[in-house]
């Protein structure tokens, strides 16, 4: 879907999406990190979770290298840059932020591993401050695995000025497949100066929970709501009983718990929060 055609989706009160008001702060979430750290999985969970709760959210998929498990598989309305050319991607991103400022929606951007796209724009335009002036809060989700090299991208983001004021360090516990303890496997990362400095500068740290059968869900191109109900697409193998239960526990307990750790004003606006602020839910 290209940008002009998305304008028709805007803020229809009858659609049940959260329209909000013109001066309300909107959230631009950028999911960044090294390749294989779990960015797309985390972004996919974020989008599904918020949309289940009525968020008016646009998905920007800048990861053109990842076809099999890309966000576009799960979210057909995800917008992609016209090509992998850096100039095309840069222009596409600027147009996307411009549309967000004018049209007032929340966004989630999934970057390819180590893609300098946003960092370049941030260096050139003081992106965080510029968006804030237009009441769009940039929230950086830096996804980290247990490899110290994952911190290189956090360091680059800090140097590019992408870091403040809202940064979430997402420790992906789902990457620990060995019998070693999660605490021990991540000790080098969480004890590293770059990590500690980021926390000192105001970053919040959260654990992203693992799901043993995550690969099975992703490879079937299912949403978590579908997988927990045991739905599969034609020609696919059904989920075994216990995997279905695992998905249900993940989606109904662990993921809400994960989101409960994140400051509410760093998340896209969701319908139940909007209703609460209007006194609609007691």
């Amino acid at each position: 879907m290209d940008l002009p055609s998305m304008e028709t989706m805007m803020l229809d009160p009858a659609s049940g999406l959260t329209a909000g008001t013109a001066d309300e702060v909107r959230i631009a979430t950028i999911v960044d990190g090294r390749g294989r750290a779990g960015k797309t999985t985390v972004a996919n969970v974020l989008v599904q979770f918020c949309r289940e709760r009525g968020a008016n959210l646009r998905v920007w998929n800048a990861d053109r290298q990842n076809e099999t498990h890309s966000l576009s598989v799960f979210h057909r309305d995800a917008v992609r840059p016209p090509s992998d050319d850096p100039d095309d991607k840069g222009a596409w991103l600027e147009e996307s932020f411009d549309a967000q400022v004018r049209e007032r929606f929340d966004s989630v951007l999934d970057l390819a591993g180590g893609d300098p796209l946003v960092r370049l724009l941030a260096r050139e335009t003081e992106l965080v401050a510029t968006l804030e002036q237009h009441r769009v809060r940039l929230v950086l989700w830096q996804v980290l695995g247990p490899d110290v090299a994952d911190l290189d991208y956090l360091k680059l983001s800090m140097e590019a000025g992408l870091f403040a004021p809202a940064t979430l360090l997402v420790l992906n516990a789902g990457l620990v497949r060995s019998k070693r303890s999660i605490e021990a496997v991540f000790a080098e990362v969480t004890g590293h100066k770059v990590f500690v400095d980021a926390v000192a500068q105001g970053a919040q740290v959260v654990w992203f929970p693992g799901l043993v059968c995550m690969k099975g869900v992703a490879e079937r191109g299912l949403t978590f709501a579908e997988a927990k109900r045991g739905i599969v697409k034609p020609g696919q193998q059904r989920f075994v009983l216990f995997d279905q239960t695992r998905v249900e526990i993940f989606w109904e307990k662990h993921i809400p718990a994960f989101f409960a750790q994140i400051p509410a004003d760093w998340l896209p606006r969701m319908a139940d929060r909007a209703a609460r602020s209007r006194g609609g839910i007691q």
């Binding site: 001066d23 309300e24 702060v25 709760r53 401050a129 804030e132 002036q133 237009h134 009441r135 809060r137 004021p165 420790l171 516990a173 620990v176 019998k179 303890s181 999660i182 605490e183 991540f186 969480t190 004890g191 500690v196 926390v199 000192a200 105001g202 919040q204 740290v205 959260v206 654990w207 929970p209 693992g210 043993v212 526990i249 109904e252 307990k253 662990h254 993921i255 809400p256 718990a257 994960f258 989101f259 409960a260 750790q261 994140i262 400051p263 509410a264 004003d265 760093w266 998340l267 606006r269 139940d272 929060r273 909007a274 609460r276 602020s277 839910i281």
Partner: protein, 192 residues
């Protein structure tokens, strides 16, 4: 320090643990929590503290009034002992249990969000997700209060707002976040 206070101090020392330690050690240890912040903020010099302790009648193991240097040194011993005991206690909590993550695993909740600073008034009216009905489990959201040493293992007081954690000095709010994720990791490990 008045005689009455001294009497109370000495009475409080009766039958205490740490056999073989001087009264000074016991007294510094018993009053660690109250003394540490003041020493960390340089509100009290070692000399003044030694004079007050001498005036109160506390003696070192040789029966002499303690000097500023001996108070500083014994304070360091107290801090070291407390840090070791805290580390040993933490280590005892890191036992691992073979299993997958528990269905009942529930992480601690972070502090409330900081307001937006540079783009007009913060957005406020929306309640936090913590308060919402997003799958919350009642009674799981209280945050644990952790106490951190405000001096390093040698007894030297740390800069204001700093505490000692993971073998280094750091801001208290950083230590609190790191302690929280360490605790959550241990909780996940229990069910791994």
């Amino acid at each position: 320090m008045s005689d009455e206070t001294l009497t109370k101090v000495l009475a409080g020392l009766q039958g205490r643990r740490f056999r073989g330690r001087s009264d000074l050690y016991r007294w510094l240890r018993a009053n660690y929590k109250r003394l540490a912040p003041r020493l960390a903020q340089d509100q009290v010099s070692w000399g003044v503290l030694a004079q007050e302790i001498a005036a109160a009648g506390l003696k070192n193991r040789k029966g002499a009034s303690p000097s500023a240097d001996s108070v500083r040194r014994i304070w360091g011993t107290v801090c070291r002992d407390l840090a070791r005991e805290a580390a040993a206690k933490a280590q005892r909590r890191t036992r691992k249990y073979p299993s997958r993550i528990s269905p009942n695993w529930w992480p601690q909740v972070v502090e409330p969000p900081r307001p937006m600073t540079s783009a007009g008034p913060p957005v406020l009216s929306s309640p936090s997700v913590n308060e919402s009905s997003l799958g919350g489990v009642p009674g799981r959201q209280s945050s644990e209060v952790v106490e951190f040493p405000t001096v390093d293992p040698s007894g030297a007081p740390l800069a204001e707002g700093h505490v000692f954690y993971r073998g280094q000095s750091m801001l208290r709010r950083v230590a609190e976040q790191l302690a929280r994720i360490d605790r959550q990791a241990r909780e996940m490990d229990r069910f791994k």
